[in-house]
Amino acid sequence: MTLLPTNTSFAADEGLRSELQKAGVFVVSLEWVYNWGRKSSIWPLGFGIACCAIEMICTAAARFDLSRFGAEVFRPSPRQADLMIVAGTVTKKMAPQVIRLYNQMPEPKYVIAMGACAISGGPFKQGYNVLKGVDRFIPVDVHIPGCPPRPEALLHALMTLQRKIENQRTLGSDARRTNPAYRGENRECPIPEFGEHDLVPPYNPEVWKPHTIVREA
């Protein structure tokens, strides 16, 4: 593990730093300490909406032990959570509530879309009542495929998220530019209305655009 994030302009003599480490003196940037604290205490929002939640609970329990990553503190309130694990099928009827929970979380906030349903609609994709991926309405940081994903996959997603947090700028003038949480803009996602045939609008154009598929017809 490098003690300095790769994107810092902080220049220190590598040899001097390793000599100091041997003597028990660590020279790191304040940002590194800050991010180290953030990534090691991700508090997920405790909510599951389908069978993936069982895997998520299993991940949190003794055998897989989410607390090894400092992420075992499942919060019952979105106001105290950093991470939303969308564990399961998001039906169109449920979607406004999921988005509302996301809006109620404080910055900086992250989203893991867990399982086939949460990333694409899964086996219900061709139906009428399931959202074809939660990323149509809220920005997703990590997608995990699987039906349901194994606890190892969720742990991998968490480690991927930790790596993302590790490399985010939180201090200095760069932070505003590179980290959406520090831009000071309103990251609230608009909540769709229940329409006569579908949700209105069917997706949030700010975070999602329909794919253009190039394929021989």
Binding site: K92, K93, G121, K125, Q126, G127, Y128, N129, K132, E193, F194, G195, E196, H197, D198, P202, Y203, P210, H211, T212, I213, V214, R215, E216, A217
Partner: protein, 196 residues
């Protein structure tokens, strides 16, 4: 198999559907038949296990018949569509069943008699049939949508329902899904340009 002859003898308007071994009950008589089935000591059907809607589209069948003068004559037979509600009744007390009850109505104006006053357990299932098929249950105490939201206007389990076109990508599309996915492909001219 339960002997249905006493029911048919007691209620002459009730017809027997031999193919499905079901009783076809007219709407006006449904409540009375259900009440009798529940209370009769020989049946005691005290449990409505299942309420289902069935939608059948009208069918048009063309058959060619050879005329004596050698020409073919086309005969068109039309079978009207229908909307049905199927109840499966069991007896917990006598450990027998099921008896299948059907109420048949039209697709244009689907109205049947609710059996919720007799079987309280049918309440949510009738609401589901109302939600997904649009079948009106007369006498239901609280007929609202149960799965879809209240503002929803369609009936998604009907055969002629068209779902919102809200997916674009399918890894291995085929049949109806292929037709739907093709609508989202770039236009043919642009795709050949991209290929060349």
């Amino acid at each position: 198999m339960i002997d249905l002859a006493p029911i048919l003898a007691k209620f002459p308007p009730v017809k027997h559907d031999a193919a499905a071994n079901a009783l076809i009950v007219p709407q006006a008589l449904a409540l009375e038949v259900a009440k009798w089935l529940r209370d009769d000591p020989a049946y005691r059907m005290d449990y409505a296990s299942n309420v289902a809607g069935v939608d059948t589209l009208p069918v048009e069948k063309k058959t060619k018949v050879k005329q004596p003068d050698g020409t073919d004559k086309e005969i068109v037979t039309k079978k009207p569509g229908s909307m049905e509600v199927v109840y499966h009744l069991y007896s917990m007390a006598l450990k027998h069943g099921p008896i299948t009850i059907k109420q048949v109505t039209t697709r244009e104006n689907p109205v049947v008699t609710s059996l919720t006053p007799i079987y309280r357990g049918a309440e949510f299932q009738e609401r589901e049939a109302f939600d997904l098929y649009g079948i009106q249950f007369e006498g239901h105490p609280d007929l609202r949508r149960i799965l879809m939201w209240d503002e929803f206007k369609d009936f998604p389990m009907r055969k002629d329902y068209v779902e919102p076109d809200d997916y674009e990508y399918e890894p291995t599309p085929h049949d109806a899904v292929l037709a739907k996915a093709k609508a989202h492909y770039p236009k043919a001219s642009t795709s050949t340009e991209a290929a060349s």
